[in-house]
Amino acid sequence: MNTSLARYALGALVVYVVLCAGIAWWSARRTHSESDFFVGGQRLGAFVSALAMFASTLSGFGFVGGPGLVYAHGVTSFWIIAATPLGFALGLLLLARPLRAAAERERVISLLDVVHARFQSRPLRAISALAILLGCIAYVGTQVLALAVAVKLVLATAGVGVSMPTLIVVTTVFLVAYCTFGGVLASIYTDVLQGCIMVVAAVWVFIAAWQTFDGGLPRAIDILAFDSEGAVGAFGVMGPLAALSWFVIFALGNVGQPQVVSKILMLRSSQSLKSVLPMTTLAYTLSALLWIGIGLAVRAAVLEGRIPALRAADDAAATFLTAFAPPTLAALVFVGLLSAIMSTADAFLNLGALTLTHDLPMALTPGLRARFKRSGKRRLWPARGTTVLLGAAGAYVALVASRSSGPLIGLLGALGWSMLAATLVPLLAIGLQLKRVSSLAAVLSVAFGLVANILPELLPQLRPGAIHTGALSITVTCLVFLSLNAVLATSPSDRPARDTAELDLP
């Protein structure tokens, strides 16, 4: 990164921070209750919800890891991009009805409120909350680390040297500050800003990548095909099993991402769902152009000898910006990267605080909510306090991870998307829809989902070779739940669970 580029990036960073701070201040003035803090008072419109849903899905992985995957493995990772539109649709189609019914009739604020209404099981609520909490800490930790690394890179090119621990603390303080004061409103509206930045940056990058070659990206594909037909084949170099694994993880897995589907609870009206689905997918599709464009262009440029081979595949995005993009675009992509990281992190900070202050206490202490309702207490400050606590936990994880190259990084990865999917997809995609359900089957399947994701990271010999662990854990956990439920829910003493439209909330 040259000096002028660093200057542009620093300028963009300052503008971005000021905008986020302004949104946080504006949101703080509108946050007066627990409902405001966690679900934005359930008054969000379609555009805002769609952008927030998309922004909390696309993390820094899409901006850095995605192009790196294309560079290293060819077309294989395109299957993630192809699966995500199906994933968004499945999530909304399967969950819109039970979640909207709950939101509009009972003003529930948590996904697990709906699960609890269906299964009537506090142990299930407790173990599901634990899974979500683990996922939140892992996500916040990895996002804080990624944020610190990105800022360090820009500061270093501007000649400013700051240590990683300092950067982790500073970025966490900023992140936690706007989430703490503005609650989910700050998170959502910064997500809208961040989502817009990501889309604009991605489309611009795609155009720049196209212009890098005389014949556009088809020329880049020809260059790749000449070098290795497999790289631009239907499933890339990693083979059909890896492509299918990713397809499964991102199509089915989307239904089990609480940071995404809980946005359904925040909508003002069910009518908005009509527009949310296409808007979310359009935004994601446009952002994915960055992934495709940079990955193909950098690999083809290396093969043509225009730039030297990369030391690491994840350098693809930075290399492209340095070699082929104007400084303004590079600065915008840098802010887009920060946006992608922060929008995911703030969604999980809010979700984690909700789990700690609402779901876990209600699972462990029966009648707690009724007591709060009777006393008329506002639970805003506990929510803010736990946001700070969770941010501190995330920063600690990031600090430890920054000093470790061992299994911690892999473990953090395992505790992310796939674990949330394996534990929650059976409950949400199947459990909420079945006529009769067994809470024991649900508890056992969540426990199985946790173990199936964590154990292979601790014992590498258990990893299933060419298949991604997540794909197998999601599908097997669904089968475990369905099978156990078929056996356990048929007992005459097991009463049918209530329809989720007939909620029995505490």
């Binding site: 192809a82 199906l86 009805r97 509009e104 037909e229 499933f235 009509k274 079945l434």
Partner: protein, 172 residues
């Protein structure tokens, strides 16, 4: 013609659950068999010269992966029917996994026959295959039983709790 979207799956609950179960078995079976047949493929950086080996192994694993994707099609269609959504939506949701199954099983052959690289099939066929689903979702949202704000308010204020069956069953 879509069946009426009965919410509680009285008519299709068992069939849909079986569809999901069989689909999951096929999906898991395909993944496991395919993993046995296909060795873990290395990245093509740095150049290893192992591409022919990968292609050969992949040709054995492809039918298994294709079968697994058929299982995924059954799973998603079954889940949507389990949620008592219209049949056309369930079929449309099965379309992307079916396209995936086709590409996984026959992708290299189709590329050889047509001279069109697989990347174009993925970007041109698989990526937009969810559009049918989106068109149908646009048509049905929120007609299949989601309460409007007014309905929800009316139900909450006038009907006894847990007895608001007018929200069930969708359009009659």
């Amino acid at each position: 013609m879509d069946s009426a979207p009965s919410r509680d799956g009285a008519d299709n609950g068992n069939g849909a659950a079986w569809c999901v179960g069989i689909g999951l078995l096929l999906l898991i079976g395909g993944l496991v068999v395919g993993a046995v047949l296909q060795p873990t493929a290395p990245a093509f950086l740095p150049k290893t010269g192992s591409i022919p080996l990968i292609k050969r192994a992949a040709s054995w694993a492809s039918p298994a992966a294709g079968a697994a994707a058929l299982g995924l099609a059954l799973v998603v269609a079954g889940m949507l029917r389990l949620a008592a959504l219209p049949k056309s939506l369930a079929y449309a949701a099965a379309l992307p996994p079916l396209v995936a199954a086709f590409l996984l099983a026959f992708g290299p052959s189709v590329s050889s026959l047509t001279g069109v690289e697989g990347v174009y099939w993925v970007l041109g066929l698989l990526w937009p295959s969810a559009i049918v689903l989106y068109v149908l979702a646009w048509k049905y949202f929120p007609a299949w039983g989601l309460p409007s704000a007014a309905e929800a308010a009316r139900a909450a204020s006038s009907a006894p709790r847990y007895q608001t069956h007018e929200m069930r069953g969708g359009p009659k």
